[in-house]
């Protein structure tokens, strides 16, 4: 039971990390390697707001989410749109966006380095035990997991039960056909990219309540997110959530029953298996 709950909490964390990228990559078709840096930047901003001005990280979400949304919209409009326009097919866009966001990764990292230096940061927030069925867990982790659930649910409702959200999915499924139903594909892609960035930033805010972070750590998060997104099937939030939970559970199981030294290896092994046997993701359909 302890293993299960710990795994679920971890899975919730991973869900947070991956949701933003799955939107950015699945809908806007931008493979954002700077995803982790966005997350870490949000960690720093949260830290700054909390320790500097006493703004509760949960309230901070209200500032950081919209802020990240605007910034990511601008990034898409200024930096990604030219690539989208010149790409003659999806493959070209993929390569271009990998290269461009790799540049962004450095840029963000450099800016954070200028602002915050390279040391480790953390702060204490809700680091209280919270008891679930007799076992105690960090309240901050529980809060983050609940927030992840709320965000995932809100995203689900948005994507599956609103016109705007359905349009976003339509672009993910078939951008050409989407144009035929009066969807402005460019705008929708920009929106999805910005929304993805905002969610990633919220993830950063929540993770900063229990992770120790520094400027150089973004890559770790990007890797995790990539693995989850690919496992879940690009652009499929249900898949991403499931993949994140599976990953969290596997890691915890391996750590508890086998050897904590193997968790990362198990991670990649699982990922590689999924790629080999279901390259279209857990829920994905084979292209006919």
């Amino acid at each position: 039971m302890l293993i299960l709950l710990t795994g679920l909490l971890l899975g919730g964390t991973y869900t947070l990390i991956a949701l933003g990228l799955t939107l950015q990559y699945g809908v806007a078709r931008i493979m954002n390697l700077a995803n982790g840096e966005t997350l870490v930047a949000a960690c720093f901003v949260t830290f700054w707001l909390y320790t500097g001005y006493g703004i509760n990280p949960l309230l901070g979400l209200l500032v950081i989410g919209p802020g990240a949304f605007v910034i990511n919209w601008l990034i898409y409009a200024w930096l990604m749109q030219p690539l989208v326009k010149r790409a003659r097919n999806r493959g070209m866009l993929e390569v271009d966006s990998i290269l461009a966001t790799f540049g962004l990764l450095f840029l963000f990292q450099g800016l954070m380095l200028q602002a915050f230096g390279g040391s480790y940061f953390n702060y204490e927030f809700l680091a209280r035990p919270f008891s679930i069925m007799g076992d105690s867990f960090g309240l901050n982790r529980v809060v983050a997991c609940v927030a992840a659930a709320v965000i995932a649910a809100a995203l689900y409702v948005f994507l599956y039960h609103t016109d705007r959200g359905t349009a976003v999915r339509a672009v993910a499924v078939d951008p050409r056909a989407a144009r035929l139903v009066a969807i402005d594909v460019r705008r929708t892609a920009a929106f999805a990219f910005a929304l993805g960035g905002a969610i990633t930033a919220c993830a950063g805010t929540l993770l900063s309540t229990f992770y120790t972070f520094n400027t150089s750590m973004g890559v770790l998060f990007t890797m995790k997110a990539l693995i989850i997104v690919i496992m879940g099937g690009v652009g499929d939030i249900r898949g991403a959530v499931l993949a994140a939970l599976v990953l969290g559970l596997t890691e915890t199981l391996v750590a508890s029953l086998l050897d904590p030294g193997l968790t990362l290896a198990a991670n990649y092994a699982l990922f590689i298996l999924v790629l080999l046997f279901r390259p279209q993701g857990i829920f994905g359909k084979r292209p006919a």
């Binding site: 380095l113 953390n122 035990p129």
Partner: protein
Amino acid sequence: MLRRSFNVLMLSAALAVGTIGAAMAQDPVRIGVSASKTGPLAGGASGVLWPNIKLWAEKVNKAGGLKVGDQMRPIEIVEYDDKSSPEEAVKNIQRLATQDQVDLIIPPYSTGLNLATAPLIAKYGYPQIVSTGNANDLDQFVKRWPNTFWLLGPAQGIADGIVGTLKDLRDAGKIGNRVAVVNVSDAFGLEMIKTGKPALKQAGFDIVYESSYPLGNQDVAPVIASAKAANPDAFVAYSYPPDSFALTEQAQLQKFNVKAFFVSVGGNLDAYGKRLGAAANGVLIMGGVNASDPVFQAYRKEHLEVTGQEADWWASPVAYASLEILQQAVEHVGSLDKEALNKEIQSGTFKTVIGDVHFDNNINNNNWTVGQWSDGVVHGVRATGNLQGAQQPVIKPVWPSN
């Protein structure tokens, strides 16, 4: 408090940018540094090495400069980022030695980069005073590169320190025989466990739980849960900063109460004590300082004032000491002749923030190995060699409930 230190940090970062390239007085002593500003090692280097270089340079220049013979010459730091990569580090050393032709070199952060650059630094003859790296085979290194000096001493001493402390506690009847031991699986963690584990066994401890976890892993709830299930009297973690924090937080959350709780790198950070507050009381850490030494206290104060960052309770003073040794060696020799400097460092005795240092066969054998938190301060409780000022270790109280 946090807010203040944070703002100071921001301010000093801005100042640092502004003062780069500020004109120095005539004929400065050029001192090259190549260490990590980016990449995985940047976290450690930015906490321990870079601030001390800044502090030292500022202090020396404020005092009129470095005394070389009868001249007072200002010092100028030439710094490069090695991006945590050996290739870059090697290239940077080459650049410092042959392009910038610096007078002295401050070696990089971490054991790996120090070893990667050692052949080159040796080739150019600069003294290499390593303050942030150690290993068990120091004798071998010294034979290869007689210009290397190892301030932290052999890994053996550091790894065994906690064993000695546990043994003392047990022999005094304060704790039992059961020990849980975990390590981060990277070079450091393995080196430590390799010597620590046999030492524990030899001291007659039962290792009731043993495990390793990957570098960078902060999700250590399963580790603590399993350790707790083994019901140990003492918990020993050869850990790094992110996981030191995570292990402690999980132990607290899961009410994993042991009588001795030990974490390694990270436990020495000032932020560790700040973060935990009263809960830190009684936590044992790797390394330590003589907190009651006024020299050290003054150093801590200056460190905060100049860098905006708190010095930690182990590595910072050691790093600073390495610079003091370099400085005093120059002053003693009266020139920048590398050969003479190496000789002086090999034989001389230096007054530093960590006390008097002298090298035996290029290795400093007087080191703090275990410290213990007590009301926001770390006191050294165990040392190798003949360091003075160790306090008696105490049993860790149960985690305060919050």
